[in-house]
Symmetry: C2
Subunit: 127 residues, 2 copies
Amino acid sequence: MKIAEVSKRYGISPDTLRYYERIGILGEIPRNKSGIREYTEANGKTIEFVKCMRDAGMSIESLTEYMTLFFQGDGTIAARKVILEKQRDEIMQRIQNLQEALDRLNFKIDHYEDNIVPAEKAMRSAL
Amino acid sequence: MKIAEVSKRYGISPDTLRYYERIGILGEIPRNKSGIREYTEANGKTIEFVKCMRDAGMSIESLTEYMTLFFQGDGTIAARKVILEKQRDEIMQRIQNLQEALDRLNFKIDHYEDNIVPAEKAMRSAL
DNA sequence: ACTTGACATGGAGCTAACTCCATATGCTCT
DNA sequence: AGAGCATATGGAGTTAGCTCCATGTCAAGT
């Protein structure tokens, strides 16, 4: 598939796809005889993984490091696992932060009711 | 308390604290007679909230909007609630993304074992 | 009085991660 | 063939959110 379709399928702009390729995150994307990118299904899988990790806050730097190792083959499996485990820990930390903020927001939102109701009462009694 | 203590207590650099103040996120911080900031406990509560929301990915822009309304008093309660609810939805979405990435990472990490073990066996048999 | 260290201010600088642009080439349709 | 549209490339520009710096003031210790 061409870049426009990949862009649409994964919700990543063509510019960003070319950028990812340039910095080595996607490996080499095959081209047709006139130099146009023809993404394979395997490329699609990579892109989906990258998108998922980016959405989870993994840095471009870590992704580049991971993918570079990946493209080097099986000899790098142990090193890659270390990166993934570190990433997992960061994500768990992030989930904890988010949960804390969520609890706090829910508490605040619930208590806004306590304030709004009297405020509305005051308005009504002012009529 | 002075800026250094606040910085240490909440893990935010003095530069960032001054920056937050400048863009209106913290309101006016009281000064002593020689112009030095003397943060009150209330300022501390605000800072803690800001830190929590920033850690949860709330943008500076949204925080500024929210805090500006907050400092305008009770008339803005309804508007503030809307912002918090929107933020809550974003956080829930983010948690979902993170959970998805986490599942994926755990799956990958578990399967790395499947690859590493044969690789290690190969090494041992090569000795 | 002098040195030292925390603090203040305005503005410049920085990093990550895109995003946009000018220019060029190629495919497709009529 | 000409029009119109997708794509390619190299490089500049953008945005968010800080972070650093030069310069200056002030309070406390010696």
